[in-house]
Amino acid sequence: MIAPIELSIISVVAFVIPVLFVVVIGNDPRRLIRMSFSVSALASLFSVVAGAMAVAGHNVEQLVLPLGLPTLPFHLRLDQLSGFFIFVVGLLSFFVSVYSVGYVSGLGAGKPVKRLIVFYNIFIAAMFMVCLADDALCFLVAWEVMAAASYFLVMFEDGRSENRRAAYLYMVMAHVGAVLILLSFGVMAGVTTGFEDFSCYTFDAMRAAKFPLKWATVAFLLSFFGFAAKAGVIPFHVWLPEAHPVAPSNVSALMSGVMLKTAIYGIVRITFDIIKVFPWWWGTMVLVLGLVSAVMGVLYALMQHDLKKLLAYHSVENIGIILIGIGLSMIFTSFHLPVMAALALIAGLYHTMNHAMFKGLLFMGAGAVLHATHERNMDEMGGLIHLMPWTSAFFLVGCISISALPPFNGFVSEWLTFQAFLLSPSLPVPLMKLLIPMGAALLALTGALAAACFVKVFGVIFLGNWRGHSQHVVTEAGWSMRAGMSLASLACLCLGVLPAIVINWMDAISESLLKARLVTTSGVYGWMWLTPVDPERASYSGPLVLIGIVAVCAVTYLLLHVKPGNISRVPVWDCGFKKLTPKMQYNAVSFSMPFRRIFGFLFDIKEQIRLVPQHQHPAFPENSQYYLRVRDRFWGWLYKPVIDRVVLLSRKTGMLQHGRIHVYLIYSFVTIIVLLALL
């Protein structure tokens, strides 16, 4: 029986094989694509198994590789937490790899497919390594390799300037984040544990160490903001809506679905596993940032009409929701309420998994749509449900899930988060008592806005009539793409209908981190009912709700069709005047108009309507042009000033080098005089 950690290492190594394929059979693209992605899928399955085993089997495995520095070899560790994340990453990368077989071969000639394959595999392997790493060096190496690989994947179509800009912005942000993380490791190892040798850069040593509060805070803040830059927490999110849309869709699926989650992993690892003891305001900070990201994220998403950009902003939102759970858990932990902490943590992690599934699904769907229409602007689409029935069905599943509607998975994790919120009265701090309900309200607002947003998305893309100027021949996605999407939607449904089972499985994480379990209470009604805290408090049964609705629908349908009343299909009733045109449909911009009116103060909106008046009748304009631009305010607030400062400084340093040799001699002269004077 092979140990999980070995299995996961095997899978990591297995990701090298496709890279070799590129070298070996690079000249036959079709074969190359098919083989390499099937190998990646297989390798991901290994990790899925390894992760599942690691979480289920309640033990911790460690391993030291003969790599790295002489004094600091690479340490690996597979415990419940890392097992869970490996499971999630593996699951999505399995779906996406299946999907990619069709997607990548459909990219068309002239695209650097080899590059895509190479970095795709390095990227996934690096994500596994991030979860496995158990010392600062190994973690950072894996982390940066992950960043670099995804950077090259974003650069995929390097001909387009927006790709270059996005990739650059992303890389710089990622690197800054990595630097912060490095600093926080340095603080934890160098400053707090009296630095004898490199052994204190292993996480074990950090776990053992007792941190003085001051340095613990410094380390936490550094690492949190470092990870936040990766996770796209507002206000560090600017790179995200730039980078995700321009990458190939299978890559965006992975980036949005699981790469952001590695940052969540890092936060959980640092706070719950390494620092362990912290004041309650940490949790409050995380909670507040989470709320801000959730609400702002969904609002910005609502303003978009570029499909993938919209999805990217929704990643910001969902990361926010995850952080809400984690923040609550931190608050409860700091007040020594382990069971509640466990509930909140599970809620956050469950949403992590759910978001991976449905966001992956949505990006895959978006990929299929782009693939078919060569169009990213929703306002150029419409009525695709007739042309791509399968894709639309899967996409609909994604929409329902992300809108947190039963019986799909998004709802379960938000429901759990609400339950965590409802437990806040048992907090000793009055302020928290009053503030946390507000948080719950904001979460509700987020959910509702997300629903609105996805009504818009699905309605505008798949329903109604084709709005595009170019009547493009649209065909259904290929089998492998459909297979990938169907698997993901299945996962969404299962996670939504059978949460009790999954949560019993996940309970090992909270047990290992918080020494508290939910199973004791949640097991009461068996697998059909989910009763997180206690059946008296709250209960939800996915299966029954699903069955009930389906049953009633079926019964009514049958009752109404005992005598088949005939259905006549007619053109739409156009109120008797000129024929309706697709232009008259609501599109993305008009759909979100009420929201712009209400939440407009949050955006930097530029709106113009130009009417070209008819010469005889000024009352009836010839035609009108509408221009709308909605911008992120944070760029102007936070980033531009910094950039300007840096540019200014670099100009100042340029002054040093101004060509006259006398001046250079004076520098040397003055230097020596100063040094001698200081002597």
Partner: protein, 221 residues
Amino acid sequence: MNLQVLAQVNSFLAALVLLTAFAMLSQRKINSLVTLFAWQGLFLSINTAVVGFVASKHHLYISSLLTLSIKVILLPYILHVLVVRLKIRKEVETIVNIPTTMLIGIALVIFSYHLTAPVREMSTLITRSTLAVALATVMIGLLMMITRKHAVTQIIGFLAMENGLFFAATSATYGMPLVVELGVALDVLIAAFIFGIFFFHISTTFDSLSVEQMESLREDN
């Protein structure tokens, strides 16, 4: 002759070296600069010989001869030839005017005196007091390179610095080991050839030896 006298001779020569340094600092004509440089070399070599005699260090005679041949005869000759070949007649304009340069020079002398005070404390050699002069010569050479806008004057300043160093070597520590002396001399020789080549390149490329044209590699715009 007794040591006192020789010590006086030594310090007298040091004074002369310093004087020539100042004279170079104030001199506008390149020809006379070259001449002054030759004089400085001469004083230097005499001084070296004297010190050699005092300390009965025979390798110092060799280095004295080297100085004589290179710094008094060879280099001035090369420079002279160059000046003639490249028809450098006009006076060299300075960046800072002469009196100010003078004042700075004096300040430098005082500064280096102050700096070398501790060294003088612990030295037992009769020539110890001249270390300040040596350092001052180095500094003044550097100052000269800074204040002159002409390639040749910069080179002369550079060589003056070398003189200062050499003087320091002999005065602070009855001369460096011979191998070093030889090496330094060799380097100076090579340097001489190189700047010779340079003068031709510069004058052919920029049709003048003023350093001012060589300011195109800049980033402050």
